[in-house]
């Protein structure tokens, strides 16, 4: 018996590594196109809202979120009733065309209903955020979003990043920095594309926050990258009569632009 115990002790952590469900992470997704509004000709931002495995481009269904709000000039507007359902394959996703008519930072935040993940035996709630700068004004990008349970607050201006730039963010939970927290990172290769990873374990990359709740990451490719600061909630939710843990995700989507070579001046 004595020799079995260490084996068991090894077995359970190994299960975690071998579990395919953990190889690719769940991400709340809010993607605006275009990522920045500079010309009135494309001032209608088309938002895609989904719950997805971004790197592998594998879908899940997202019921109509609890909330989808835009913050601009210190005001919050609830837009969840305006979301339009869009089936992608068999999966439910949401769309919204939002007209940006003033300069300034537009912050879009999706709060989903809790989702029970059997593979992890816990609920997942991903508060998912994305920023859109309009007409050159990005004031406020480093400020926390009022009333948001958990979020990543950028320390690098999110609307002006090139692929390869270091991105620094701070994970907040109830307004407090989260030291030693885990941040899962995935690339979103784009519509009808999936990424290629040498090993399944490299689909999702992970960084930890330092003692101040800050993390750094340098993406290797242009496009949308999702950052998910994960925390266990201090509450449980019932599932089939049993109280289950709740994972709170602070998800931020950041666009990294292609850095183009110089051209002749004049």
């Amino acid at each position: 018996m004595r020799s079995v115990r260490p084996l068991l002790a090894l077995f359970f952590p190994l299960c975690l590594f071998l579990s395919p469900a953990l190889a690719q992470a769940h991400f709340g997704v809010v993607i605006p196109t275009p990522p920045t509004v500079m010309d009135q000709a494309d001032s209608t931002v088309n938002l895609e809202i989904e719950f997805w495995h971004p790197f592998a481009n594998q879908g899940m269904s997202l019921p109509r979120p609890l909330s989808f709000a835009v913050y601009h000039s210190g005001e919050k507007n609830e837009l969840v009733e305006s979301l339009e359902e869009k089936k992608v394959g068999e999966f439910t996703t949401w769309r919204l065309a939002y007209k940006v008519d003033r300069p300034g930072l537009y912050t879009f935040v999706m709060a989903p209903h809790p989702y029970f993940e059997p593979a992890e035996d816990s609920f997942i709630i991903h508060f998912t955020k994305v920023y859109v700068d309009a007409f050159g004004d990005n004031e406020g990008w480093s400020e926390p979003t009022p009333g948001l349970k958990t979020e990543i607050v950028p320390l690098s201006a999110p609307g002006a990043l090139y692929a390869g730039n270091v991105f620094t963010g701070k994970v907040l939970l109830d307004g407090q920095p989260v030291p030693g927290g885990e941040v899962e990172i995935e690339w979103r290769p784009g519509p009808d594309k999936k990424g290629q990873a040498p090993y399944e374990s490299m689909i999702t990359q992970v960084v930890k926050t330092d003692e101040n709740g800050n993390f750094n990451f340098a993406p290797t490719a242009p496009g949308w990258w999702g950052f998910a600061g994960l925390n266990a909630a201090d509450f449980k939710l019932p599932h089939e009569g049993l109280e289950k843990d709740v994972e709170l995700g602070a998800v931020l989507w950041v666009y990294f632009h292609e850095f183009r070579p110089a051209v002749d001046a004049k």
Binding site: P103, G136, N138, E139, E143, K170, P177, D210, N212, N214
Partner: protein
């Protein structure tokens, strides 16, 4: 560590206190190291422009020009303390270009798209233009056959009259709104944001300092 800490904190606080006031177009604050932007919108018979380095750093005394798509100068003016200037609506349809020059080669440009324009040339409005004379219409009574003859000119004059009247009536509200929007006093959000900045920067400094010393491995896994 304290040797670095206090001068930095002091520098941050000093900068925070001075930066908004010290700004002028010719001696720009740090924000003007970045681009200058101009935004424009239709307001009845005007095209109004806002020029800024950022929301808080407005272009004061900058030269703004209204140009036709082929680059012909239509009007120009100088921005006020809030970075705004309103042009009379020009007799030119379609896209318009608004450009701002804020000194030291800082130039911003904005295309006001035709699809976003709701203005009409102010020149077409004159109080002397034939009025639709509502009194006559009333006198004609229900017996009058057919709708009253309404020329396109009458319609436009009426439209402009309503616009002008609405604008005058709404002026106090617009001003109150603008004042509320431009309120310079720091809100709780600004304060919290500022504290967040300081905490963030200090965090980075500590992180940097912390990296220099070999730290004991964390007790948790």
């Amino acid at each position: 560590m304290p040797r670095l800490f206090f001068p930095l904190l002091l520098a941050l606080l000093t900068f925070g206190a001075l930066a908004p006031k010290a700004f002028s177009p010719l001696a720009p604050g740090s924000a003007s190291a970045h681009a200058v932007y101009v935004f424009a919108y239709s307001a009845s018979d005007q095209i109004c422009s806002e020029s800024y380095f950022s929301r808080k750093n407005r272009v004061q005394g900058g030269r703004v020009s209204l140009l036709s798509p082929n680059g012909t100068l239509l009007e120009s003016g100088v921005t006020d303390g809030e970075g705004t200037f309103c042009f009379k609506s020009p007799d030119v349809a379609g896209d318009l270009i608004v450009a701002v020059e804020a000194g030291e080669g800082h130039r911003g440009e904005f295309i006001l798209r035709a699809s976003e324009r709701s203005d009409s040339p102010s020149a077409s409005f004159s109080p002397a233009s034939p009025s639709p004379a509502p009194a006559e219409t009333v006198e004609a009574g229900p017996a009058a056959a057919g709708p009253p003859a309404f020329s396109p000119q009458d319609a436009r004059a009426l439209q402009n009259f309503i616009r002008a009247e609405l604008r005058d009536q709404l002026k106090p509200i617009v001003r109150a709104l603008a004042e509320a929007e431009n309120d310079q006093s720091p809100t709780l959000r600004n304060v919290v944001g500022g504290l967040g900045w300081i905490a963030g920067l200090l965090g980075l400094i500590f992180w940097r300092l912390g990296r220099r010393r070999p730290s004991p491995p964390p007790s948790r896994d």
